[in-house]
Amino acid sequence: MQINGEFQPKIVAFCCNWCSYAGADLAGNNRLAYPENVKIIKVPCSCRVNPMFILRAFQRGADGVILCGCHPGDCHYTSGNYYTRRRMALLFSMLNYLGIEKERTRVEWVSAAEGAKFAQTMNEFTEAVAALGENKRLEDLRCKK
Amino acid sequence: MNNSTENLQKEIIRSSGVNPKKCMRCGKCSATCPAYDEMEYHPHQFVYMVENGDIQPLLESKSLFQCLTCFACIERCPRGVEPAKLVEAVRLAVIRKQGANHLKADDIPALLDEDMPQQAIVSALRKYSK
């Protein structure tokens, strides 16, 4: 998306209900600004995020997808984020193997107390994705121009 | 820590394979060391001083040549720190320098007696010179 000639990336953030969504709320409570490009989808646990959701977001025009969950060891469901960690390690490595820029995907552990970390993470991530420009590659992977 | 000390510290840690940060300062290595009284710096001090980059005093110390490599400190350390390996790495840092052999072949005849097994000579040479 271009606004005033400036590229505005679309960012989807999946946040687990117990830590990261609460961390985002805390960023709000403390009025810690981060780009409006970031739109949050609440999931019960980061382990609910299916790789299909991430690819779907990219396919529908997202330029970056970030996944936030409780810190390892602090999962509300004890082990959900450990599975997330494995799944995303493999998925992200595969996407990069296919030539998709590694900066477009990210997992970050944000606790309910880390409002500042949430805002900072979103600032950094948006900046990194903006620097890459529009996400064309996943769109183009099967279409040679 | 200046650059050369830091490099030396890194080199010692790398060559020994020891992570001095694992030490919890219990002192069991020094409690177990049979050469304790011969040493100016004791095994737990080697670990602490390498961790802090306080290596110069160790390089100059005769303690380097008092370790018996009996592995008792390695065996009994509750944290798996393996102090003897650090002592060895520091000693190598000294004797690997040109002309810094602690024991020279020429010195040996004077130290020998007729019952002394070959093993003692080769071991000492391995430990004390390059």
Binding site: P51, M52, L55, R56, Q59, P72, G73, S79, Y82, Y83, R85, R86, R87, M88, A89, L90, L91, F92, S93, M94, L95, N96, Y97, L98, G99, I100, E101, K102, T105, R106, V107, R137, L138, E139, D140, L141, R142, C143, K144 | -
Partner: protein
């Protein structure tokens, strides 16, 4: 040249069928051309004697067929398994996909199967007959004199980098068992990893743009045994195959590879059947290589009942950000 002959297999199949151990046999028979050997189900001794074949083109992995065939019988199914097939066999057992009691598995040694594309490249088109003679295949064509090519030169890629000559499951073994091989099957993956993002993208775009979505890779895959595939399920939100700019058109291969990650035994059937010759195994092998490097060596199917890496974890696992770097830089 295979060490076990067709006659041996026919004899074994007839024996087990006649003595009532099994009531059906999974085997191969000739297709339209001598080299397109197809899987077949035999229920009579006569059919077996007349149609059963076994040669250097019998690459098909039968494990997957057991799901359906065991459901159809109260007796047992006889299946011939090459070493690589036994891994798929175990993996399916791990996932409770068929009843072990209903299978009589005969392990057969394998010297590697031939790749018809390579054969054609060596001997030309219009092949009318192929005969194994010693270490060679003698190929007759419409246009030329008979030509001998070394088996080793026309070996399928997956056989060139064969990971194991050892059978990990069987009821009976014909011939000698081999060993697990320290193969260099990750070389191609490493080559890709060493490229830049741009080069990798160009490579995959070139490959995947050829895909015609025939689903052959999925249908043959012994790990893809879902009762209903998400890509066939209108309720899954990802089905959409008619629309060219659809999600699945682009993501099919990534999701498919992810769904079999940690379960794929690297049997190579996907690439064998791809009519567009897309090296699909390079996707699966990337996952296998990453799994090995992130979580320790794991071979799906090596042991029935083992815990697949994606349904397992340790508290010290690598972080995704580091994983991407490690996955790309292991060999760069």
């Amino acid at each position: 040249m295979q060490k076990v002959t067709c006659d041996t297999l026919v004899a074994k199949a007839c024996e087990l069928l006649e003595n009532g151990t099994v009531d059906r046999v999974l085997g191969w028979k000739n297709g339209e051309f001598v080299y397109d050997v197809t899987p077949a189900l035999f229920t009579t001794v006569d059919d077996i004697k007349s149609e059963f074949v076994f040669n250097d083109f019998c690459g098909a992995n039968f494990s997957k067929y057991l799901i359906e065939e065991t459901r159809k019988t109260e007796s047992k199914v006889l299946v011939f398994l090459k070493p690589c097939d036994t891994y798929s066999f175990n993996q399916l057992l791990t996932e409770h996909r068929f009843d072990r009691e209903k299978v009589y598995a005969v392990g057969i040694p394998c010297e590697g199967m031939a790749d018809i594309t390579k054969v054609k490249a060596a001997a030309g088109d219009g092949i009318t007959a192929i005969k194994a003679e010693g270490e060679n295949l003698v190929i007759s064509t419409l246009y030329d004199d008979d030509k001998a090519v070394a088996c080793a030169d026309v070996l399928a890629e997956r056989c060139v980098v064969c990971k194991s000559k050892k059978h990990v499951a069987y009821d009976e073994l014909l011939g000698e068992d081999g060993d697990v091989i320290d193969s260099n099957r990750f070389d191609e993956v490493e080559k890709l990893e060493a490229m830049t993002e741009d080069e990798r993208f160009a490579f995959w775009q070139n490959e995947l743009s050829r895909c015609i979505r025939c689903n052959a890779c999925r249908d043959v895959c012994p790990a893809c045994t879902c009762e209903k595939c998400v890509f066939d399920n209108p309720e899954s939100s990802v089905v959409n195959k008619a629309i060219s700019d659809s999600f699945e058109e682009k993501m099919f291969h990534i999701i498919r590879a992810f769904h079999v990650a940690g379960r794929c035994t690297d049997c190579g059937e996907c690439s064998r059947v791809c009519p567009q010759n897309i090296p699909l195994h390079l996707l699966n092998r990337k996952f296998i290589k990453d799994i090995n490097s992130f979580y320790g060596e794991y071979q799906a199917g090596a042991e029935a009942g083992s815990r697949a890496p994606l349904v397992d974890y340790t508290t010290e696992d690598i972080e995704p950000t580091d994983a991407v770097l490690k996955g790309a830089s292991d060999n760069a």
